[in-house]
Symmetry: C2
Subunit: 422 residues, 2 copies
């Protein structure tokens, strides 16, 4: 049992109310939240939070973690040139061991940024599973975009292989996107989803071109086309949604789908600004993701929350466009629920102890008026003091407790990068 006392606590159970008190963990779950009782049990460790903030950890609801290896490899080039000349040829050379190494690099950054779960789509899922299990973080794999899963049978094989492989690993059905697969595959995934009563996830309406080409092909936008073939009978969601119109958002609302926005990637790749204000006001469920680190370039939940808020102000020419709190909700509770981690969403007894401690005494978070808004508009990864996943502290005051040192992990990536890009 670990005890945090003298803490401010933002449970997110009930909006953004903050209480003062203590929180205990027992094994991988939260066992108590409240005032200091008259009698205390024995603890393995007691941590004086010093008035700092305990809150649910961040959940990265869309990423391609191993793309760390191409971060800053080529900047400021047009999207098509970047993809075809600077990404695809190098991804072709990747081995399973490379993906493991580059995932570990991403995990260092996730933990230092307060992220304890990531929803990952990439090659070599075994490598991602291994990296996550070893480090102590949580990963949910999403369908696949790679060459080995070309048909629904193999998607099902992967699903069956990974769905119950480890308590910290999940698997959700999905495929890359409408424009990179055909109707046969889409209908096949829908059938599998019906058979398994499972949600389905995909990239959707990220660029205007892809959105319009789908309308040409299917006479309907991706969201409307997918709904028409029954893809989302058991829910799921879509990544990006930059070009959603009111009808697309209505599809998402009535099917309880998650709109996973990646504002930094959409900015860097000049895809556009997603209609988050409208989605929020219409009741669409929101989560946030970083997308891959090559198109971001960070794996930083603070960046996503901040952009999620301020880009709406620019889009709508209105400083009051969307409450900052909405982004805090999307980056934590929303993300967890979007990827099916319903026991990792809020802080409450019985929930998984996936939580962070934030240094409210850092100059950039002073003074303290409205902590949730402050986290969104002036918080930064440097404010993370501790990151706990499933009751285990994986990062604390700059130190990692993940079974390997940052130096080892970085040295391993350097060697591989020389080979891949040399």
């Amino acid at each position: 049992m670990i005890r945090f006392y003298n803490a401010r606590i933002l449970t997110m159970a009930d909006g953004c109310e903050i209480t003062e008190g203590e929180l205990w963990t027992d094994g991988d779950v939260i066992s108590y939240i409240g005032e200091t009782p008259a009698e205390l049990p024995a603890f393995e460790r007691e941590i004086n939070a010093g008035g700092n903030l305990l809150m649910p950890s961040f959940k990265n609801a869309h990423t391609h973690s191993a793309m760390t290896f191409l971060r800053s490899f080529a900047e400021d080039v047009p999207l098509q040139k970047w993809l075809f000349e600077k990404v695809f040829p190098y991804e072709d050379r990747l081995t399973a061991e490379d993906v493991y190494a580059f995932d570990r690099l991403a995990i260092l950054e996730y933990l230092a940024s307060g992220t304890t779960a990531f929803f990952d789509m990439y090659f070599y899922p075994d490598s991602t599973v291994q990296a996550a299990i070893e480090s102590g973080i949580r990963a949910v794999l999403c369908g696949s975009i790679n060459g080995t899963v070309k048909d629904v049978e193999r998607l099902n094989d992967q699903f069956q292989k990974f769905r119950h492989i480890h308590p910290r690993i999940g698997y959700r059905l999905g495929f890359h996107a409408e424009y990179t697969s055909d109707e046969g595959l889409h209908r096949g995934v829908a059938e599998l989803a019906h058979a398994e009563k499972e949600p389905v996830y995909t990239h959707i309406s990220e660029t205007e071109r892809e959105h319009l080409e789908c309308i040409e092909r299917h006479g309907a936008s991706p969201a409307q086309y997918f709904e028409s073939i029954g893809l989302w009978e058991y829910g799921g969601g879509g990544f990006h949604g930059v070009w959603f119109d009111g009808n697309d958002r209505a599809v998402f609302r009535r099917n309880d789908l998650w709109m996973v926005s990646c504002p930094a990637s959409n900015a860097k790749l000049a895809s556009g600004i997603a209609p988050l204000k409208e989605a929020y006001e219409e009741g669409v469920q929101l989560a946030l993701g970083t997308d891959g680190p090559a198109s971001n370039n960070a794996l930083d939940p603070f960046r996503e929350m901040y952009l999620g808020a301020v880009l709406q102000k620019l889009r709508h020419n209105d400083a009051a466009a969307i409450p900052a709190n909405v982004m805090l909700q999307a980056a934590t509770v929303g993300g967890a629920r979007a990827m099916g981690l319903h026991d990792c969403d809020i802080l409450a007894p019985g929930k998984q102890a996936d939580l962070i401690l934030i240094d409210l005494h850092a100059p950039n978070l002073q003074p303290i008026y409205h902590i949730p808004e402050s986290l969104v508009l002036n918080g930064c990864t440097g404010n993370i003091r501790m990151t706990m996943c499933a009751g285990t502290i994986l990062y604390e005051n700059g130190e990692y407790f993940i079974g390997a040192s940052p130096e080892e992990i970085i040295a391993d990536t350097e060697k591989r990068i020389s080979r891949l890009t040399g």
Copy 2:
């Protein structure tokens, strides 16, 4: 003498080339940059940079530092309501001692973010001067926006009082904005600038409304109107320039003026996205500022560089819109020159030792392909290991060396805030 060895060095003397070697300081200046010589002099301290990056510190070329006291006080409210109900009434209550306290809070954040100089416009300049001198940071005061400087005579009094008060303090002529003063004042400032052969600075074309109203009043945009009355005979610059058109940028180019962009503030207040790509391509000199912390909400040069780059991609619907390097230049060399700190711009022997050490081994800066681009697109304040101003280390590995502890400074602001907003 302090020696940094085993460093990567980005002098910014010649674009963004990086060399490996060492850098020495002697008193407040840089005394050597190069390879390790056969014989070494005696040093007070020798710092192994461990392959990390030494570079010029950031310069915040537009801010109202003491507005830390209103950060996160009121979020997501429309601009006019925010200003008239949530800012002005509280600013009216400020004392000189309050400004000193709130400046000290800002200085903590500046130093932790690698900023060693700020170009400040606010009430009670004596307080800002005191806070800067005591802490060891550099401040340049800019004209005034407050009630005590209503005429040119008093502006001149301030100018004469502060211009040579201390080696780390500067003063530049300026006034708040076209729309908050009249033609008499503008012409008076122009005369003073001519008499003193001094540059002049002002807020300019921050909002569309202000830009259009000036055209209505003067038959010319602010930039063109100010040029016509000879305000910029000896140079200077303007803060924001969000609504600049080609003619305004031409005024800036032909008068060698500094366009000081504040992208985060312009986003939060929904003022718009400044035409930085055009300005850059046309040869306008660029610097970056945070604006006040209440309208940002951070004092974070990484945020400004990042937004300066990616918002142009959104504005122009082009992932290649502006090279990231341009923003690194604007945040360091540009900022120094914009505020007249010509001996604090680059790293070179004889220049002021205003520099920072950046942890390139941080996971978010790995792998290392293009360091300057990486700093702009994935760097963060947590990557700052050391901040040196005028040869003195003021911040190192989370610790401050400024004559007061963060705890003291924060406790002082808390007391004052209770009084001001209670």
